[in-house]
Structure formats: structure tokens, C-alpha cells
């Protein structure tokens, strides 16, 4: 209530209507929560799509019990999934998870809620733009969902939308392109806003080097969003022109489809799309992982009660990673027949980019060394993240070298690789973030026992789902096959894994209800906690009061005196020294 009082004094109290306060709010905290809830819904929806597909993969051609009959004759006659529908689900799973799930959760939700608080800003630099970016994102989501009901259903050409296939698809693909335009616009508005906020609104004393690793990760991520998305927008415009305007940007001369020559001018190139797409999509995968690293870094420092090991190297590695991510894209295209010179270049850059990733991961591991680790719930998730991200990253190396990649490309190995980074990696880190900042949003903690069940259940299931993918992939099983590969004899010995994987996926789906219950139950009934329950040093905990925080965040603008992670400062009476605590002993970070 103290916040409302200060709010009043600052510029006269006025009662905000429900709509202004919760729906069309310009408060970054409310927008962050809107992003969070929306993207969690999308995540679960995207996961539901894959749970359906996993039935088809485990039991190809058999009717899906109960759920199969909820769908129409056009998609699942007699409960059996048609290949066309399988393709829709696959394409939309990827699209939804990446663009409507993880990015808005990692950046829109955590970035929005936490960054202004951590840098000591009253809000984002452009609050109205912030609201606009949420609603544009929302529209994009609606367009994507609506596309399922168009003639021919949703997009079927994969989340990568390669032409010529994507060009000759049904209307769903056009909807996909329009939806993407919304999402790209939204992330552009968001990126401009985050960057301006971080550059302009840091509180007095909050130098760049005093920012938390989380803020740094959001900073670099925003640059990636700002600069990588526009080329995809360009590609999207061209594909839209191809589909609606009859042009042939991506259509080669003399293309024959189903035995019929297409009536087009030709002269275009399908490879052009791949270049433009991956120019976005490689940086995009770093958009998926960097915020996760940021969250994990904050939590590890907080729970080891030590400053992060090699903080400066981590930041330099982060910046280098952001830069390099723009010049590795063609490692997704080794089998397109590129010359050896170009292939050598991209193999080299891909090997180089793994160095900063390894630096960050190693620094996080070393940070654990000698710490008095508190096994809190967020820490459990953060610790789970480290080896999982390790597996994901290491399995990327063979893919970055053309000779093994020619064998592994477009197999389940690739699917295993990136899911290890994104699922037990990023998603686990997102959960860590939710458990960590939940008390900031609600003043209560989520239930620890339920959280532990959630953690072990999720992480075990994830490994059961994704580990066998490496085995299948190395055996040569291709991705995107409706029959899971049953038509190939070489796939035979590994296909039994599909049953295990599917059961693990469904079990994991059920386990998520524990989380959902915990989330909603704890909002009202969770254990009440103090202003700074984790005894953290960063401003969002140390310089604000308990929720609900008023619009404007801080009662007094905090002044920052020290680095982000001053835990266990020698000679201090407590084991954490908040950033806004003045003192004779400032900043003890050893200059590495």
C-alpha cells in the first residue's frame, strides 16, 4: 500500500478502470505478466499438437483413442491422422513453440517484467509502444490459430517454410506469412523499446558493468531481434508476392508439380529463401537461449552466494556470440551443394561460435565450485539446465562440420540436438525464472514439494523423449515422416523407441498440470514471503517493496553503488550486499 501512497503524491491519484489496469495497461509489469500467461498458453497448445503427433509416430495409422474422434473427417477420418494434418501439426508446433511460446516468454515476459526493475527504471522507455507490441503479438497469435480453420488447414511446409513447397501450399501458408508479419512487427517494437530502456533509463550509478548478466543477455538478445528479423520480413514479403502476386522470386524456371508444368515466369531461386530464412533463424536460436542463460546466471549467483566466476569474460563472450550468430547461418544448408570455399567458411565460423558458448557454460559450472549451494527450487531448475544445455551444444558440433552433417542433416539427430537446447535447456530455465520471480509478482512463494515433483518428472521425461532421437537420427531416420520411417528397413531397429518417447511425452503433459495447479494455487494461497525472500543483491529485490508494486516501481529512485552479484563480501555482516547499499567497500570484483 505504501506504493500507492507514493504514487498519489507523485502525480495525483486517479482510479484506473479495469481495462486500463489489466488489459490495455502500459505498466511493464502488467504487460510482462500478459506476455507470460499468453505465451504459457501457447506453449501448452504447441505441446498438445506434438502429443497428438506422437500417437501417430508410436502407432502409425492406428486411430487415436477418444481424442481422435473430436476432429473432423477432413483431418482424422475414423480417428486416424491424415498425412496432411500431420504436416499441419508439425509446422504449427515449430512455429508456435518458437515464435509464440519461447520468444515471448523469454523476452516479452521476463524481459519486460524484470529488466526495468533490475536497472532501476520506472518503466520501459516507451510504455505505449510496449502495450502495442503485446497486442500486435496477440493478433499474430490469433492469425496463426485461425489458420487451422482455413480451407486446406494451417501451414504444412514446416516452420522453415521452404519454397517451392510453401509457395504452392493452400491458404494456410498465406496466413502463416501474415501472422509472421505481426510477430516480426511486435518483436521489432519490443527490441527498440528494450534497447532504448537499457541505454537510457539505467538508474544513477548503474553502469553497464554493474548490470546483471540477465540484463546483459536481454540487451544482446534485443540486438539480435532488431537486426535479424527484418531479413525474414523481407523474405516473407517476397513469398507473399509469390503466393498472392504470382511472382517467381523463389520459383525456378521449368518447375513441374505433380506432373504438371507450373504456369509461372520462373527465374527465381528456392535457395534465396533458405539464405534469408536462416539469416534470421540462426540468430533466432540465440534469442531462444541467451535469456535462459541470463536467468540461470542470476539464480546461480544467488544460490551459490558468490559472485559469478569470470563475469566479465561471460559478458564479452555474450557480445561475441551475438556478433558471430550473424555469420554462421549457412551451416543449415551444407547439403544444398555449396562450394567448398563457402562451406569451409561456415564450418569455421560455426566452430568459432561454439567457443563463447562453452565459455559461458564453463563459467557457470565453475561458479558452483566452493559455493555454499542452497538447493532452492529455482536453483534445482538452474542446475538441471546446465548439463542439458551442454548436451544440446555438444551435439551441435558434429552438425557444424559438413562431413558428418551430410549424414545427419534432416534426421532425428538434428531434432534431438535443438530440442536438448530448447526444451530441457531453455524451457527448464524459464521454469526456473518463474519460480524465482513469482514472489516478486505475487508476494508469495510457489510450493516447493510440488515444484520438486514437477522438476524431476519433467526433466526425466524430457530425456526419455529426446535422447532416443540421437539413436534414431544416427541410424538415418528422417524428420517429418508421417509414418515415423516405417517404410524404410534401415529404420526398423530403432522405431520401437517411438513408443517410449510418446509415452514419456504424454506423461510429461500430465506432469505439467502439477505446475499449472501450483501456479494458480500459489497466487492466492502460497506461503507469504518477505520483500527479498532469496536475499538477493539485484535491485528488483532490494530496492522495491512487496507487491503489488505501483506503476513507477520505486518509491525513491535507487542509486547503485556496486556490482550485480556482491555475495559473501569479506568483512560484511551478511552474505549479500545489495547493489543500492552504500558503503565504504565498493565493488570487490577481481579484475580478471
Amino acid at each position: 500500500m505504501a506504493t500507492t501512497a507514493s504514487h498519489e503524491t507523485s502525480h495525483g491519484h486517479h482510479e484506473e478502470s479495469f481495462w486500463r489496469k489489466y488489459v490495455f495497461s502500459t505498466d511493464h509489469k502488467v504487460i510482462g505478466i500478459q506476455y507470460g500467461l499468453t505465451s504459457l498458453v501457447f506453449l501448452f497448445f504447441g505441446f498438445t499438437l506434438i502429443m497428438l503427433m506422437r500417437w501417430q509416430l508410436a502407432y502409425p495409422g492406428e486411430p487415436i483413442p477418444i481424442f481422435g474422434f473430436l476432429f473432423g473427417e477432413e483431418t482424422m477420418p475414423g480417428g486416424v491422422m491424415l498425412p496432411e494434418f500431420y504436416n499441419q501439426l508439425g509446422a504449427m508446433h515449430g512455429t508456435i513453440m518458437v515464435f509464440l511460446g519461447i520468444v515471448p516468454l523469454a523476452v516479452g515476459a521476463f524481459g519486460n517484467y524484470v529488466v526495468p526493475l533490475q536497472i532501476g527504471a520506472p518503466d520501459m522507455a516507451f510504455p505505449k509502444l510496449n502495450m502495442a507490441s503485446y497486442w500486435v503479438f496477440f493478433c499474430g497469435g490469433v492469425v496463426m490459430l485461425a489458420s487451422f480453420w482455413f480451407p486446406g488447414g494451417a501451414a504444412k511446409a514446416g516452420w522453415t517454410s521452404y519454397p517451392p513447397l510453401a509457395n504452392i501450399e493452400t491458404t494456410g501458408q498465406t496466413m502463416w506469412l501474415i501472422g509472421m508479419t505481426f510477430l516480426i512487427t511486435s518483436s521489432l517494437l519490443g527490441a527498440v523499446n528494450f534497447l532504448t530502456t537499457i541505454i537510457q533509463l539505467r538508474a544513477p550509478g548503474m553502469t553497464y558493468w554493474r548490470m546483471s548478466f540477465f540484463c546483459w543477455s536481454q540487451f544482446v538478445t534485443s540486438f539480435l531481434l532488431l537486426l535479424a528479423f527484418p531479413p525474414l520480413q523481407a523474405a516473407g514479403i517476397l513469398q507473399l508476392m509469390d503466393r498472392v502476386g504470382g511472382t517467381s522470386f523463389f520459383m525456378p524456371t521449368g518447375l513441374v508439380v505433380s506432373g504438371q508444368a507450373l504456369d509461372i515466369a520462373g527465374g527465381g531461386s528456392p535457395l534465396l529463401w533458405q539464405h534469408l530464412f536462416w539469416f534470421l533463424a540462426h540468430p533466432e536460436v540465440y534469442v531462444l537461449i541467451l535469456p535462459a542463460l541470463g536467468i540461470v546466471a542470476d539464480i546461480i549467483a544467488n544460490n551459490t552466494r558468490k559472485p559469478l566466476w569470470g563475469f566479465k569474460s561471460m559478458v564479452y563472450a555474450l557480445i561475441f556470440l551475438g556478433f558471430m550468430s550473424f555469420i554462421v547461418w549457412a551451416h543449415h544448408m551444407f547439403i544444398t551443394g555449396m562450394g567448398t570455399a563457402i562451406s569451409t567458411f561456415f564450418q569455421l565460423t560455426t566452430m568459432i561460435i561454439s567457443i563463447p558458448s562453452v565459455i559461458i557454460l564453463s563459467a557457470l559450472f565453475i561458479s558452483l565450485w566452493g559455493g555454499a549451494i542452497r538447493f532452492t527450487t529455482p536453483m534445482l531448475f538452474a542446475l538441471g539446465f546446465l548439463p542439458m544445455f551442454g548436451i544440446g551444444g555438444l551435439t551441435g558440433l558434429p552438425l557444424g562440420l559438413a562431413p558428418p552433417d551430410i549424414h545427419l542433416h534432416d534426421t532425428y539427430y538434428v531434432i534431438g540436438h535443438f530440442h536438448y537446447v530448447v526444451a530441457p535447456g531453455t524451457i527448464i530455465a524459464m521454469f526456473a525464472g518463474i519460480y524465482y520471480w513469482f514472489p516478486k509478482m505475487t508476494g508469495r512463494k510457489m510450493n516447493d514439494t510440488l515444484a520438486k515433483i514437477h522438476f524431476w518428472g519433467t526433466i526425466i521425461c524430457m530425456n526419455l523423449i529426446f535422447m532416443p532421437m540421437f539413436i534414431q537420427g544416427m541410424a538415418g531416420v528422417s524428420r517429418r515422416l508421417w509414418d515415423a520411417g516405417a517404410q524404410y528397413t534401415f529404420a526398423e531397429p530403432t522405431l520401437h523407441w517411438n513408443v517410449t518417447m510418446s509415452h514419456a511425452a504424454w506423461l510429461m503433459g500430465i506432469i505439467q498440470f502439477i505446475f499449472i495447479w501450483n501456479l494458480f494455487y500459489s497466487i492466492k494461497k502460497g506461503e507469504k514471503v518477505s520483500d527479498n525472500p532469496w536475499e538477493a543483491t539485484t535491485l528488483e529485490w532490494s530496492a522495491t517493496t512487496s507487491p503489488p508494486l505501483g506503476h513507477g516501481n520505486f518509491e525513491v529512485v535507487p542509486t547503485v553503488y556496486r556490482d550485480a552479484y556482491e555475495y559473501s563480501v569479506p568483512g560484511s555482516s551478511k552474505d549479500f550486499t545489495p547493489q543500492n547499499e552504500p558503503g565504504e567497500k565498493e565493488s570487490v570484483r577481481e579484475e580478471a
Binding site: 518503466d123 528479423f229 520480413q233 514479403i237 511472382t247 527465374g267
Partner: protein, 205 residues
């Protein structure tokens, strides 16, 4: 609640928020048009001849298809508008609101001249059956200039707002109004610059 540095510059960066915002936005625009230009180069390198055959007729060079005098005229119009938009902003700095209106009005007028001329150019192509679908050259021409045209249109809307209803802010917060005009001007220079790249690449090369 006040957001700091909406009107005044932050001492260490020397910029107010919107100015950083517009520069970042323009950086992303550079990537957008950069992507399209790269696409153009990619397709052109792969094309056996350029512009090549359109509706059965073979063209050896771009200026046989497009009218260079009209393109040059439009280039001049946009360059002039870039000057007038700076003048408009300068008048605000001199606290001469009337002259601001005059120059801003002139800028909007020039932008509209550009669009009308472009419209005639398009129409001239359409009546001869030259549509984007007729080949890569026309596809590139229409898509790139069309997207640029949308940017011009966006600029007209923003500047018309600042000329009309938005100008009320001059009474209440002249500093912020001046900033807005400056930011709009930066955007306008960018739109101009894109055309200065587009014109030679599409019309002349």
C-alpha cells in the same frame, strides 16, 4: 510517474529516448532493405540476362523498360523534401511556428507529388500488361518500389499528423514537439536515402 529523458537528453548518451529509438528502428530498416537488396543481387547474378524477355519482347537494359527522366524527377522531388523537412525543424528551433507549418506543408506536398508520379508510372506499366508476375525484373521493381512507396505513405501520415492535430503540442510542450519533428525528419531522410539507392540499382544498372 515520469519516464526520464523523454524530452531532455541523458547526459552520458547525449540523446533523448525517441532519438535512440528512431536510430535503432532505422537500423532494422537498413536490414530490411538490405535483405531485399541482397535478394535482388542474388537473383540478378543468377539471371541469364537482365531485364530479359518481358511479354515476348527482349530488353537489353533497365532503362528500356523504365523511364529514367521520370525517375530522375522523382529523385529530385525527394531530395528537395529532405531539405524542406530540415527547414521545418530548424524553424521550430527558431521558434517560428508559422514558417514551420509552411515548410512541413511543403514537405508533405513533395511527398505526395512523389507518390502521384509513382502512381502514373505504375499505371503506365499496368496498362501495357507489365505486372509483377511477368518476370523477375518487374517483380523486383514492383516489390522494392512498392515497399518504398509504403514507407513514403507512412511518412506522409506522420508528417500530416505533426502538421495538423499533433501541432497542438507546440503550445503545451514545445521541446517535445520539436523532438518529434526531428525524429520524423530522421525517418524521412532514411526513406529518401533508400530511394537514392533504389533509383540507380533498378532504373540505371
Amino acid at each position: 510517474m515520469e519516464i526520464p529523458y523523454t524530452t531532455t537528453a541523458r547526459p552520458d548518451t547525449g540523446l533523448y529516448n525517441a532519438k535512440i529509438g528512431i536510430w535503432l528502428f532505422l537500423a532494422s530498416e537498413v536490414m530490411l532493405f538490405g535483405g531485399l537488396f541482397s535478394a535482388y543481387i542474388f537473383l540478378r547474378i543468377g539471371a541469364p540476362e537482365w531485364p530479359g524477355t518481358i511479354l515476348g519482347e527482349n530488353f537489353a537494359s533497365s532503362f528500356d523498360v523504365l523511364s529514367v527522366p521520370i525517375g530522375t524527377f522523382n529523385t529530385m522531388v525527394l531530395i528537395a523534401s529532405s531539405v524542406t523537412v530540415v527547414m521545418a525543424w530548424a524553424q521550430l528551433m527558431l521558434k517560428d511556428f508559422k514558417k514551420f507549418r509552411y515548410y512541413m506543408g511543403l514537405t508533405i506536398l513533395l511527398a505526395m507529388v512523389f507518390l502521384v508520379v509513382k502512381g502514373f508510372e505504375y499505371n503506365d506499366k499496368f496498362v501495357h500488361g507489365y505486372f509483377p508476375a511477368e518476370g523477375t525484373f518487374l517483380a523486383v521493381y514492383f516489390t522494392l518500389t512498392g515497399l518504398h512507396g509504403l514507407h513514403v505513405l507512412g511518412g506522409v501520415v506522420v508528417m500530416a499528423y505533426l502538421w495538423g492535430p499533433g501541432a497542438k503540442m507546440w503550445e503545451t510542450n514545445p521541446q517535445q514537439f520539436t523532438n518529434r519533428v526531428e525524429v520524423a525528419g530522421l525517418y524521412w531522410h532514411f526513406v529518401d536515402l533508400v530511394w537514392i539507392f533504389l533509383f540507380p540499382t533498378i532504373y540505371l544498372l
